[in-house]
């Protein structure tokens, strides 16, 4: 009796240990064999579209019964790059994943499938493939184009008697900001906008806002494209003073204007949801992606938003940065059937009528491809970005060409030090230059 109990315990333990070991291995192949379906694993970062992308995949499956698409999303506040690396290191490699620009392309070069012969390549808008091209070959499909600038509340400007169409350079922007600031402090707008307390809110805690987006405005005047930034051995900060002006303007006229160090605790949600959306501030430096977040809080505010240029004194003053935030890439080491299905899925998503409808009307993307004449952006900020793009008043996104980690973890951290008074502007420039050169050597 006693012996059989012991035997039972031993067996249970062995079974448990064994099952721990053998699950997880080769699950995908098993499923494929059982159902005869081709499986495509997608690992993507855009949380905003996660649900709609899932629906798109189901629609695609309905048209292609032999394909199964599994979508996994890691992003938003989470570190997609790290999660992706962990996923690859675990041996459970996805078939479709996302890459940024030239630096990512270089890092992932051993895992990228050449997509030069895909049908969508010819349909791409001018210049949008520059971040996805390496040695003349196209390796990735641009998600969409996005633009950012000074997103402002038209109603507040109107109430303060400022004409936004007159803001075309730094001088006029500064004047408008000062007028607005004066009126807020004098309490003239109290009646109509009781929560309004400052002109700007600046999310210095988010190093992507400062280190990538703000810095890009000046550095895109130095490097014509992200590829040039990527190939550059050093950074000059030719328009460093103009960059300082843009940062100072946003910091000085924010709610923490007098205690600038405290800006380092302001995060994205404070800036967008507890700033712009509740009309606590009039202007924030963000892009068309904030539309959804603002809309979920106050639809009226969201539809009353537009974008002001980000003026770089001495260079282009009336433009906003427009670029490709992320690309779809296909894993070179996946099996052929999965690769073929993955290519077809991406092509379907961006070139079929059904796919286009998803891209524009469900994801709220501004497409990076031709052939979208019947699909106009629906939201106020998408329209604003499109208007800038059509008028040619754009500068490129070059931060994808910064050395790995330089923009967010070095420059962004330095800007925090500058705001806290721990570092002078000259030290910031010098330190950032040195680190760029070191990373590139």
């Amino acid at each position: 009796m006693f012996k059989s109990k012991r035997l039972l315990a031993l067996t249970i333990i062995l079974v448990m240990a064994a099952s721990m070991f053998f699950t997880g291995c080769s699950k995908k192949e098993e499923v494929a064999q059982e159902t005869g379906k081709v499986e495509v694993d997608v690992f993507q970062f855009k949380v905003e579209i996660a649900k709609e992308l899932e629906n798109a995949a189901r629609d695609y499956e309905a048209e292609h019964p032999d394909v199964k698409i599994n979508i996994q999303t890691v992003g938003g506040g989470d570190d997609y790059g790290a999660a992706l690396k962990a996923r690859f290191q675990s041996g459970n490699e996805p078939d479709i994943y996302n890459v940024g620009g030239p630096q990512d392309l270089k890092d992932w070069t051993s895992k990228l499938e050449d997509l030069s012969n895909e049908p969508w390549v010819e349909k791409a808008l001018d210049g949008v493939l520059s971040g996805a091209t390496m040695d003349g070959k196209v390796y990735a499909l641009p998600f969409n184009i996005e633009g950012y600038g000074f997103v402002y509340n038209k109603g507040i400007f109107e109430a303060a008697g400022i004409d936004p169409t007159k803001i075309v350079d730094y001088a006029s922007l500064e004047e408008a900001v000062k007028t607005l600031d004066g009126k807020i402090k004098a309490g003239e707008l109290k009646e109509k906008y009781p929560t309004l307390e400052a002109v700007f809110e600046y999310a210095a805690k988010e190093t992507w806002v400062t280190g990538l987006h703000t810095s890009n405005v000046a550095l895109s005047q130095e490097f014509p494209s992200s590829l040039d930034a990527y190939n550059s051995k050093n950074v000059e900060f030719k328009y460093g003073d103009s960059l300082k002006k843009i940062i100072d303007l946003q910091a000085d006229y924010s709610s923490n204007g007098k205690t600038r160090a405290k800006l380092n605790a302001v995060d994205y949600s404070t800036q967008v949801e507890q700033g712009l959306a509740i009309e606590r501030v009039a202007i924030i430096q963000q892009g068309n992606w904030v539309y959804g977040g603002v809309k979920s809080i106050d639809e009226k505010v969201a539809d009353n938003l537009a974008i002001l240029p980000m003026p770089v004194v001495g260079a282009k003053e009336d433009s906003i940065p427009v670029g490709v935030p992320m690309h779809w890439a296909i894993n070179k080491d996946s099996d052929d059937a999965s690769k073929a299905a993955a290519k077809d899925f991406l092509n379907w998503l961006y070139t079929s009528e059904k796919g286009k409808d998803y891209v524009v009307n469900k994801f709220y993307f501004i497409p990076a491809f031709k052939g979208y004449e019947n699909f106009e952006p629906q939201d106020s900020l998408g329209k604003a970005v499109k208007a800038y793009a059509e008028a040619g008043k754009t500068v490129p996104w070059v931060f994808m060409g910064y050395p790995t980690g330089w923009g967010m973890d070095m420059l962004g951290a330095n800007i925090q030090k500058y705001l806290a008074g721990e570092m002078t502007w000259d030290e910031l420039i010098k330190d950032s230059q040195e680190r760029w050169t070191k990373e590139r050597s």
Partner: protein, 288 residues
Amino acid sequence: MKTSKGWFSIFVGPILFAFIVVVIIPMFMGVYYSFTSWNGINNNATWVGLKNYVEIFTEDKEFLDVFLFTAKFAIVSVISINLIGFLLALLVTKGLKVSNFLRSAFFLPNLIGGLILGFIWQFIFTKGFDAVGAKLGIEFLRGWLADTQTGFWGLVILMSWQMSGYMMVIYIAALQNIPDSLLEAAEIDGAGSFEKLIHITIPLVAPAFTIGLFLTLSNSFKLYDQNLSLTGGGPYNSTQMLAMNIYNTAFKFNDFGLAQAKAVIFLITVAAISITQIYYSKKKEVEM
């Protein structure tokens, strides 16, 4: 004797096996990777010898700062956690009516995950403190986590809040092991409650102090999730602790070799500090 061997393989065997697979083997693999330059993506890692170690000690100024910050944090939080934990244990063993309720209340923070705790306290520090500060006009309460000092104390407060309850449980067990006869004898001899505490209680709970110090010391050094969710290392990486610095080196700068070398140094230091601490605390223990 023979049966005990059988039981050993049944109960310890699986754990030992798992421990070897998930701790010991990866540790040796990690030591190997610390001698390579690997970006975490390619399948092959090139051997570079001691280059990574040399770089840590010559070029990487940040690592030293991070190390000092972590050490400072560890010292302050070890003291505060154990002190608070011990005082709480004394409080709840006094035989108050609400002791049982208090025990659960103090222990509760331990049941919440570190990440969530970090976000809760982030809200308290940035929004709650700010609102109170604005209402009462206390400038000190505003802008918490925006500079290094408040970030540091924020982390200490968070950790003390989380871990004191756990330490309390350990100290309660030790306190209840002290025979009442000893305390009564001391009382008859005319000792006051402070003298009893110093001369009887504290020496007799010394073994618990050994454990408590060890747990808090190693936990403070290894802290990652609370650090990530509370401050994220910001502002300007000044509240970054060792584990986070290693993670960032690996995953943000794609330098897995260097990160692994840092991790090896980290392992050796934490092990050395913990072993020394245990050795000295053990000496202080008295046998009953």
